[in-house]
Amino acid sequence: MAELVPPDSRRCNYFFLYDGSKVKGEGDATREGICYFYPEETPLDKQELLCGQLAGAGRCVSELSASPVRILRLRCTKFAIRMKDDFFWALGCSAEVPTISACELLDQLINLFCFYNGSVRQSYQLYSQETLAARWAQYLSHLQSGSSKLQHIFSCLRTIDSTNVDPLLLLKAALILQACQRCPLVLAGCVLFRGRVVSTQMSPELTMKVMVHESETYTKAPSTFSSFGGAVSSTTVFLTMPELQYLQSAPVDKDFSSHPTPHKNTPQKKTRLSRTLSDTPSAESEPSDTGSSQSPLKGSFSPALSDSSVFSPDPLDPPPQPLQPPFPNGKHSPEAEEEALEESYYYRFHSNEGGVSRLHDEGDSPFEENSYLNGGGGRGDGGAACGAAFDFRGAEESHHDPVFTKEASGGGRESVQGRQAEMPDAPPGSGASDSPEECPLVPMTLYLHRVNGLVLALLVEPHFLSDTASMEEVYHSSLASLNGLEAHLRTICPGAPDAPGPYIFAHFDCIQSTLTTNLSGRPGGAPERPFVRATSLLHSHFCNTETLQEAIIRSAGAAVYGSRSVAQETYFQQHGGSLRNSGVPNHQDSAFLLPSKARHRLLKHGVNLL
């Protein structure tokens, strides 16, 4: 078996879809029913054996219990099972993988398939088995690709490393999405960079689905629109009714973008809020918001100003420097870019203190930046024409942002919580929302605009594609900002992985489905293994016991502390220290200091454990 992924880091050992309706009579061969089997190089008789036996035993059990089988375990492998109509899906993982993660992975996989192909039964009527097999393989390899064991445990969304990224850029991405939403045909979108989320307006589940297509188009170039220079593509996707309702329930103005970006945790509100406020000038470089209402500048500024004085901003005071001119070829040096941003931030902040009138005067520097940003994009369309008006519109809007950020993120969290709260009623792992075939699927279109590694993905109404005006509007309004954003993001070096500190932690945000950790993604680190093992056990325990808040578990080699609330799960392990202990209860034991150490250490990673 030639495997690209080492078996160690593989999430799944087996995956198959078996169609029982094709094997009804005595004479029917089991192979007729095998729609897809992974690994594909498995000998056919073994495929038949597994499919036939598992599906048979599964059906027998489900008849006895009058309910479909969810988990089936062999001695060495555990299978997450889905039984629907005559279809039988099985996804086999090694025994260490938490059961809940295996079930999640299978659900993700099936939902992905339905997202891009519509209902499974129908797909198998429309397309050849080979075509669909290629798709299963594609989705499976996408879900398995290059993530660490820790990420497998949580099935989290991969985001850009926000500690290395200037928050301004996150805001920028959010604004691009908002701007696109002005077009009534656009439901929601997300901005991705090299397979990682920069900003999204969609639920984590939906974002995850969209990302598959993105990574696919990264390598291939599917149907494109010649008029847009090959950077734009689209594909039909299928949303479930709850997904669609969720998207439509959000008023377009409502700033959803701020909630899914990382680092918007409640405890951090203060600093961030002030930062967002002072960040405003960067938003002025958004020339994209054509034709939306503008409120009087002063009116919108004054409340924000008073806010900003209350929330004392970071004492980030770089000495004012003259702005460097852009490079002659239209590209600018990253340093210059950064400084320019900082510069504007600095001026803006100080000008805020000076009062509204001065703000106007100081508006020069962002102006300048704006102009050369557009120049940098190489497409002058709209840039100069937008002029001051757009500029300040942007500023005004982002002054609204902080307020919205608070409300929208709060609201968003609540609604997600609400959904989660409903879940426990259903049997665990079989969330009603993730059975796509139960409710009709609504065809929608996924619109993708790529600028090198950066992708703007929008879920749009199907007739968006025929509506040239809307399409052009969305395209042109976002193009320049995308170029700018791409240029910024490209220059951010991945950042040397933190020197392995005296501790390991993992922080999982259940709402946004994001994971923060100081653990390198590469497998094989010996000291990591006990941590990953403990995390996987504790995560399962947290999932099964609603009332559990905190846990410390210790083996001979490692003590790990886990803590969870409705919104997050945090795991912490301290290296070194005196591991020598007798295990007898002792209040001076270092293991019991873990909670306070975690609280301390993790603050600097933006994790607040109260």
Partner: protein, 681 residues
Amino acid sequence: MKCLLIASESAEVLFQWTDTEFQQNVQEQYGASQEEGHGLPAFEDSISTLFAPIIISCSTMVDRLSDSYTSFTTENNHIYILHQFDECLYIAVNGDGEEGEGDLRRKIYVMKKMIEVMFGMVTLSSNLLRRELRPQDTEQRARLWKHLQSLLETYSQLRENDQSFLVEAVERLIHPTLCEQCIEFLERRLVQQLNGSVERAGEEVLHAFILIHTKLLAFYSSRNASSLSTSDLLTLIIMAQNMYPSNIDLDDPHPEDVESTSGSGPDSFYTPEPSPTDRDSSSSADKPVRGSTPVFEFVDPDVQMAEDSLQALEVPPPAPSTPRRVFLEVSLKDGLYPMMPHSMYCLPLWPGISLVMLTKIPTSAVAMSVYMFLEAFAKLEKRLSEGQEGSAATRGQPTIHDVRSKLDKFIKALGPSEIQSAQLQNVWTEFKNRAFSRGGPGFNRDLIPWCKNMKTQLCGIYRQCFLIESGKADIPQRLSPSLQERAQTMMQEKLMDWKDFLLVKSKRNITMVSYLEDFPGLIHFICVDRSTGQMIAPSLNITERNTSELGKGPVAQFIKSKVWSLVSTTRRYLQKGYSTVTLRDGDFYFCYFLWFENETGYKLEAGDIPILPDESAPIGMLAWDYYRKLLRYYSKNHQGEVVKCYELLTVHLGVIPTDIILQHCRQLASKLWEPSRNPLL
């Protein structure tokens, strides 16, 4: 909705137990077609039909993939646990959420343990066990199944309500003076008299103990006896409870009784002189097996030795004075002998109080020989199947030539007895021809079936010796009824004045009240000494009429359920190598500690604890002694030291600062065992 099923590879039901809900469910699904067919056979048929596809699929998976199902979970949370022991597949089902995967797996292992205690080495031959578990005669089968079913129900009931069966350790009644008196009485008066009597028919009382419900008041082992393992003792308690169930709701202690018991807090906690241990146990064991000609005093000419003609024998319903044949582990100087035959006499003194005696039967030396031969053939078979041949396959202790001469003598000794040994002799002759003759094939793979055959034959001999009641024998093989009666009367006289006290005391063994002052915020604890298999915990009586400190009804019930789930949670962590666990759960803070000490009480460094797969045997001491294995594993690095293993579980109010909680745990850990270092057994 619960079910436990044992099936053979050919999907034949060897045993089934279902609750009424499950039975109804099956009948609804199956019943439509055969309405009139009610009663046992019809239900048995339908259950076998329903499970057949799973059972057959299971053996297909084993054959072709060398893997097999261990569990199924459905979306409505029905759990199916499967486990194969040799050729018997056990399936446990729960559909009402009352049992988790661990509970079901435990139930399977406990069922297997009880079958072992009842059938001994016959369980080593799947072929013989199948016949034993599923007698041809329907009435006999019904009787046997009913007995096994009620044992299983007794066990489940105890596991759900009795803390000692929750943690699988023996709980003693804490009353040191009475305990001491009783041990003395058992030793000087009772056992001595019984063993000196001519009416004992060659039997010898090895162990005698007094049970108050499930709690042990006193335990005495004779000097000749090897120690009784915790696993066996717990199984015997289940059997005794099954014979004379104690109705928990019946006894309602009067307030003044409670008063008298609450004084026995931790302060008055001490243990009397230890009863003699197995120091001198070698005297009987050292009798060389080889030379002794077994004497078979019972006659059963109907027994056919040919394997396929083994008839189900008529077993009359046991008379009250008929002992139970039990097969228990015996540890002697030269090794561990599992499943050695004993007779168990359970004499009820009063409702809830009984005297249990275990006797050695005169022919038990045969069992040792059989076990030794079985082991030799099993080893040989293993080596041969690993591909070793010739002398490589026969090395080891005892040598094959040793076995040969011993077996020759053994068969010779069987000759004049009533045991049908012709078949064994034939197979042995054939084996010798193949293995030892010069021109023969010698030791290679072809010998494997003959090893198997030899094992089956030996199990057959064992079955004849120990499992078949000698109904027609002139001299019944037991302590005479009058002797039993005398023992009963003696004990009753001794405990007459204590009886009411004991019954109350067993409900209020130790109470939380006595700890509240020293440990504010402590709600409950369980402390277990795993080296001796004993536990201490405040009583948790959850009955309608009983009020404990926890109060009545829902609150007490809630705390009880928390304690129960805590035990299963910590076991899961222990299985994965974690020996310290603290949990903040709702309004409670739970702690669990496992640690090792040497004999002087010095705390040893925490070592690696093996990480076991999910489907491994359940952690406990009843069905499979995890802690014995753990101690052996840990002791590897502590040669020459006696290592002891302790566990402590506590439940505190969540508002108590962690520091204080940990101090409590420390104090409890050091305080609880201090006066009771003496081993119980």
